[in-house]
């Protein structure tokens, strides 16, 4: 009786462990749609924060993969060579626009001048290109 119980428990542990490992290995890439934002701010403020002090902005907006909800006006929207939709938001700091990248499985469109709200994760500032956001989801 005891042996049977031990075997059943062991098999259950192996099955559960295998199931968890399988799920983790195959878990899908997600976007920020269902994530509660840690910060809600205009694109202008995000661009200004990186222009003022990149290290401080990285510490606040990039570290720990915090989620951001950004409001801004569309400068341009396009699909890059990696098949990712990109919506670029204007800011008043010319070299610091906010580039919102969507997963290649999520298509996003917008027109120049649209006022949009986008959630995503900030990945930092790239020279000549601006502030980068990934795994974006358009909320409005």
């Amino acid at each position: 009786m005891n042996k049977k119980v031990i075997i059943i428990v062991l098999l259950s542990i192996i099955a559960i462990g295998g199931g968890v490992a399988y799920y983790l290995w195959n878990k899908p890439k997600t976007n920020a749609a269902d994530v509660k934002p840690n910060y809600i701010l205009p694109a202008d403020s995000l661009g200004a924060a990186f222009a003022k002090n990149e290290d401080a902005a990285n510490g606040k907006f990039v570290k720990d993969s915090v989620a951001l909800e950004i409001q801004g006006v569309v400068d341009t929207a396009f699909v890059n060579e990696g098949n990712e939709s990109v919506i670029r938001l204007k800011t008043s700091t010319p070299d610091y626009p906010v580039n919102c990248y969507f997963n290649s499985t999520d298509k996003a469109t917008a027109n120049k001048g649209d006022l949009v709200v986008i959630k995503g994760f900030c990945t930092g500032y790239l020279m000549m290109d601006g502030v980068q956001m990934s795994k974006c989801a358009r909320i409005k």
Binding site: W25, K27, P28, T30, K63, T123, L126, D129
Partner: protein, 181 residues
């Protein structure tokens, strides 16, 4: 004599006018690790490159969190355990290339020696590679390939997965360059 000086000045001026900087904000950086246990690859289409024809300066910058893996779990491990992208969000290359034989205004294919320093994960190492510039109809396509050892950049790989990550990772860079106005 005055004519010679004038001609020399004109040549110098025309060279100065044509020598310029070229850039890409959508450069593709791919890395590929091959072992008998597993092949791992990641792509990043959001890197910037700028080259200065006159000085030979070459600068590349990329964000670590912009590398996309096939598996979400691999991407998590890459960022959190190996490259520690919260602490070291960027990688960059600063170096020089010999563009003296490249005519950016005419069609042709050129090999350019590029050498400099690559910084990643808080460590800086010398890197050199041969880049190819293919110029056709005003379009400038650049590409290069080189190899890095993660241990050279203080990337700690646990014993458990050592057999799955190569110590000779192939890095490929491709970009279509535009004149910087």
């Amino acid at each position: 004599m005055k004519k010679i000086i004038l001609a020399t000045a004109l040549v110098a001026l025309s060279f100065g006018a044509s020598a310029q900087r070229y850039f890409s904000k959508t450069a593709h950086i791919k890395f590929f690790s091959h072992t008998s246990a597993e092949d791992i690859k990641a792509d990043n289409y959001k890197s910037t490159i700028i080259i200065d024809q006159a000085t030979g300066a070459v600068q590349v910058e990329t964000l670590i969190k912009s590398f996309e893996f096939e598996k979400a779990l691999m991407q998590e491990h890459f960022n959190e355990n190996y490259l520690e992208s919260d602490k070291y969000p960027k990688a960059n290359f600063k170096g020089k290339g010999d563009f003296s034989k490249v005519n950016f205004a005419a069609d042709g294919t050129y090999s350019v020696n590029v050498a400099g320093q690559m910084t990643m994960h808080g460590a800086t190492k010398d890197v050199s590679a041969i880049a190819t510039l293919k110029i056709a109809g005003g379009k400038i396509d650049g590409s290069t390939k080189f190899y890095v050892n993660p241990r050279d950049f203080n990337v700690q790989i646990p014993d458990l997965v050592k057999g799955q990550i190569s110590d000779k990772i192939e890095v490929t860079v491709k970009a279509t360059l535009q004149p910087l106005k």
